[in-house]
Symmetry: C2
């Protein structure tokens, strides 16, 4: 009823479990240099991570947003740190690990980087070329493995199809508390769009399938789930 | 004197040689897919190409701006065509070749693309990986080689150091009328900045070294040089 709705609206809001907590959110793509003008990257727009950072700040958390190159305004009350590569993101985030209650890895960190980036600009000579790539450090797994008791680690798994088993493996392998599994369909969900359909996988085995939501609403739902596992 | 300055200002402007001409400008980077989420690209912001398109439209040209992914507003009076890859840029630009008086290739078209882009998302498995690349078509050279008498072709040569010989070779090899040589120093000139120091190399052997200018002013100077070689 309208009366109940008003009562709910006017009730003193329950303090969020995020209130006063220190949160690291990573967002956006990383760029991995091939030479001084060329790079490897991915289609991440940073929208999901920025929506999470904004919502966490709204709930009273102290938010540090470590972001790759994106074209998004900094959410109010959020401390933003801009980085370019996976190595840069790790260097910026690692000093913050100790002093954080929650790490949400929403960045699409490049898995690989060119083995030997070239200073200057590689000349095009040959009809074919090869780039040798090596694995990048896994920032989220690094946090999760080295964390102190009580620190919470949340990750994303973006898969193009039928990837929920991969998301489940990610939860276990990286020792995360929660994984947001995210089907990339190139249209309504995933990169560069304003909506997202997340399935939340908890360490406890809980599976919550969210409908297609704006990234802002998806961020709120994700943080609801995070609040339920955050130590008070 | 003030009188002379006013007289000049109030004089009927001489019609630009660009007035009524049809111009193709390419701008921005291209993205070359590795799989559905990853790509190769470069740091081009598109600012130089967009500034040229804006200035050419201001001078009365009919401008078609074929641009890779950038975050820039379409200049007034310019017809914009968005593309992603080099192949996409060629497909969009080629049908316009016949009906154009001037082609200015300001895009940083990727020289190479992955030989076999993968549908879906490549799984990270190995510590190392290799991407085999093949050469992309050269859109500007394609135009220059196939053009009709009177059509003018202008290119850019972005080099990190001492590259003016390379720019000169580009002028000859691609059979261009004018090359804007552009030192990439990562700070004041080249990609992602608002200024540019161009050296204009004409087919006639003329070399014009411009100072460090805003990209808008550099575009105007470049078009001044173009006007002097455009058939009336």
């Amino acid at each position: 009823t309208i009366f109940e709705a008003l009562t709910e609206m006017l009730a003193a809001p329950e303090a969020s479990a995020l209130c006063g907590k220190t949160v690291i959110v990573t967002a956006g793509p990383t760029r991995e240099k091939i030479d001084d003008v060329r790079f490897l990257s991915n289609y991440s727009s940073g929208k999901m991570g920025f929506a999470i950072a904004a919502e966490a700040a709204r709930r009273g958390a102290k938010v540090r947003l470590v972001t790759g190159p994106v074209n998004l305004p900094t959410p109010p009350g959020v401390e933003r740190i801009d980085v370019e590569s996976a190595a840069g993101m790790l260097a910026a985030a690692r000093p913050l690990f100790d002093d954080c209650d929650l790490f949400i890895g929403a960045a699409a960190v490049a898995d690989y980087r060119p083995e030997a980036p070239v200073a200057g600009k590689i000349k095009k000579k040959d009809a074919e070329m090869e780039i040798r790539l090596v694995r990048n450090p896994d920032i989220l797994a690094g946090f999760a493995n080295g964390r102190k008791p009580g620190q919470v680690a949340v990750g994303f798994a973006l898969e193009t199809a039928g990837g929920i088993d991969y998301a489940r493996r990610k939860l276990v392998d990286k020792r995360l508390d929660l994984v947001a599994f995210n089907i990339y369909d190139g249209r309504t969900s995933g990169f560069e769009v304003d909506t997202n359909a997340l399935t939340l996988l908890g360490r406890d085995g809980n599976v919550t399938e969210l409908p297609l939501l704006s990234k802002e609403k998806a961020a709120a739902k994700l943080l609801d789930a995070v609040e339920s596992i955050l130590p008070r």
